[in-house]
Amino acid sequence: MIQDLNENSFNELMITSVSPVLVEFWATWCQPCKAIAPILEEIDTTLSDRLTICKLDVDQNQAVALRYNVISIPTLILYKDGKEVKRVIGAVGKVELLKEFEQLI
């Protein structure tokens, strides 16, 4: 289940999460974001024991997007202990996406 974050739950998760967190910065009008949604669902199902996947609507949470200098969506950021360790900008396919993140989680 991919959790929909707001600024508060984002901040909280950065402090509390024991597993790495992958956050998709997205918005309702963004077509490539819609296109990768099923891929993130699949990854969430298969890797749920190792990785927490969340999404953050940039329209509703502009401060978080600004803090991480996200000015293009979709942007996927992997956080470990609240720190950014990897960023992928733009939509990509599942195999490519796993290649970017799998070794880091």
């Binding site: 918005a27 963004c30 077509q31 490539p32 000015i71 990509v92 599942k94 195999v95």
Partner: protein
């Protein structure tokens, strides 16, 4: 190898050409498999170029316009209704010269599919400027998707590079957010349709920089300026911009077909007698074989033609 593992037709691509071919071949009971591509932010994704656009005003049948993604989703639904099967993967490799066409997918298993005929409708992807700083600042001010990223440029200065309908449409879309939109065009006139030219030229937030090329994009973490070159005055100058949207045209998605399907010097597939390629049983439609019209409706028309050509070819070779 049992015969049921070989499809009648595989369609590669899912823009207006591929989806129209899907509707027609499905209605001809050819049980098409459509390899629709994978997500991308570079107009090279399931649904094709229209997925990254806003209002489509020139597709017949929609007097009030229709959103590009909505039009494509409707075409896809229509193909599914008649039994087309969609696979959300890319094609990584093909072997099309033999009697049985073989196609490999971008999944972890590199799945191989076989078919008697293939319809190539892979379209075209956005060209980049290929200048210093561009790839480093892609996603940090340089963008290929105005509908995705325009929102981040509220009260900012943005540029759109290009002179076709896509460039002008993006510029007009970006006026919703930006303080000012500069259209940067290397020629002294647009090739866009007259109606789009008039809208852009009359828009109070749009300024057109004619005869101007972008030579470099500058910025540490984010784009803050560009180096422009006026080719009429032979003069270079720095210009402040927070966003730069690239819409300078497209190149055909034909890399995987090189060495097999005959192409022209720009990589467009050569078709003769309708949609036939140089290979028996391989047909091509849409922007992948059209460097002249490049419209959704012409792509759809040629997709229909490819489906009919494939059906006739299958009937004369396999019945």
């Amino acid at each position: 190898m049992s015969t049921e593992d070989i499809s009648d037709v595989i369609i590669v691509g899912s823009g207006p050409a591929g989806l129209t071919a899907a509707i027609y071949t499905a209605r001809a009971n050819l049980n098409p498999k459509i390899i629709e591509g994978e997500p991308s932010s570079n107009s090279d994704q399931p649904g094709g170029q229209l997925m990254l656009t806003t209002e489509v005003e020139n597709f017949p049948g929609f007097p009030d316009g229709i959103l590009g993604p909505e039009l494509m989703n409707k075409m896809r639904d229509q193909a599914i209704k008649f039994g087309a099967e969609f696979i959300t993967k890319k094609v990584t490799k093909v072997e099309l010269s033999g009697k049985i066409k073989r196609v490999w997918l971008s999944d972890a298993e590199n799945t191989e599919l076989k078919a008697h005929s293939v319809i190539v409708a892979t379209g075209a992807k956005s060209l980049m400027l290929d200048i210093e700083g561009e790839s480093r600042l892609l996603g940090y001010g340089v963008s290929t998707c105005a509908t995705c990223d325009g929102f981040f440029f509220r009260n900012k200065l943005v540029g759109v590079v290009g002179g076709g309908d896509s460039a002008l449409e993006e510029a007009i879309f970006l006026t919703k957010f930006a303080t000012k939109v500069y259209i940067i065009h290397r020629r002294d006139s647009f090739r866009a349709s007259k109606i789009m030219q008039k809208r852009a030229e009359n828009h109070e937030k749009i300024e057109i920089l004619w005869n101007t090329e972008v030579k470099r994009v500058n910025g540490d973490t984010n784009l803050d300026s560009v180096l422009l070159y006026n080719n009429a005055l032979n003069k270079e100058y720095e210009f402040e911009l927070n966003g730069l949207f690239v819409a300078i045209g497209h190149s055909p998605n034909t890399e995987i077909f090189k060495g097999q399907i005959l192409m022209d010097e720009n990589g467009y597939i050569v078709t003769t007698n309708g949609t036939k390629t140089n290979l028996d049983g391989v047909f091509a439609c849409g922007d992948v074989q059209d460097h002249i019209y490049k419209q959704a409706i012409t792509a759809a028309g040629s997709g229909c033609a490819a489906a009919i050509d494939a059906e006739k070819w299958l009937n004369s070779n396999f019945s």
